[in-house]
Point group: C2
DNA sequence: CATGGTGTATTAAGTGATTAATACACGAGG
DNA sequence: CCTCGTGTATTAATCACTTAATACACCATG
């Protein structure tokens, strides 16, 4: 459970983001139980309602599901998981293109920069 | 003067963004006079203070300058302009890498998506 | 049967930033 | 000299959103 919060985005958004990443990459497997609202709140030192809000939105999106009074679980719908992953990718691409388009810069150049940045961050993880 | 405002970001931020793009691409040339605060506000139908805030930040960043009571002008420092352009590119790259890194996706794939998106938007402009 | 852990719902508070209102100082030009 | 258009500064209002407080229903378990 490695979340580092920035103070720019709302907490619940960052929580959602984290879970989406974990689910999209398979770090949280389909059907796997996730922490209860209160447990997550305790671990992350946030208000339980903030955890609830994040979970609620994820549930409405079909990313997790809840049965009875038990902690929620990751959806078993692997197609849904795949589509969420794809959406995350497309959102990033859209935002990037939208930011880069008005500036005059070649595709090759930005690809080079992206590649460099990716490698750089990989190095940082050694 | 083609600005379309979204309601997600603050007005003054979007104004700054617009001018940065224009200056970075050379659409606004070094030394060129830009609209007065009130004129801009009138054109964009925003409050003059909002225009002022945008201009003030741009001036603090060295993007524009003001002499006496005359409308501000684009900086003549072409190195500054080049560096601002580079910063915009790097910010976009950083944001993109940050968003894409936690997901498991190959460089080739995202490059393909970016290329497709760029072409798609180019088509839309026909 | 009561206690503690679930999820859930409603409402209030706080917080922070953006935007707007207003006023002031300066200078060119009629 | 007065008016109009500049830039500038200070303060207030607004506004949306996030976060928190509180309470309720359910159920398993000792």
């Amino acid at each position: 459970m490695n979340i580092t919060f920035n103070k720019r985005d709302p907490l619940y958004v960052q929580v959602i983001r984290y879970f989406k990443e974990q689910i999209a990459t398979g770090a949280f497997e389909p059907g796997e139980e996730i922490p209860s609202r209160r447990e997550l709140a305790s671990k992350l030192k946030i208000n339980p309602n903030t955890a609830q809000r994040a979970y609620k939105e994820m549930e409405e999106e079909g990313l997790i599901y809840t049965e009875g009074n038990n902690p929620s679980k990751v959806t078993k719908d692997i197609e849904k998981i795949a589509s969420v992953r794809q959406e995350m990718i497309m959102e990033a691409v859209d935002a990037f293109v939208h930011a880069i388009r008005p500036i005059n810069v070649s595709l090759d150049e930005v690809v080079g920069l992206i590649e460099a940045k990716l490698n750089e961050e990989q190095e940082g993880r050694k």
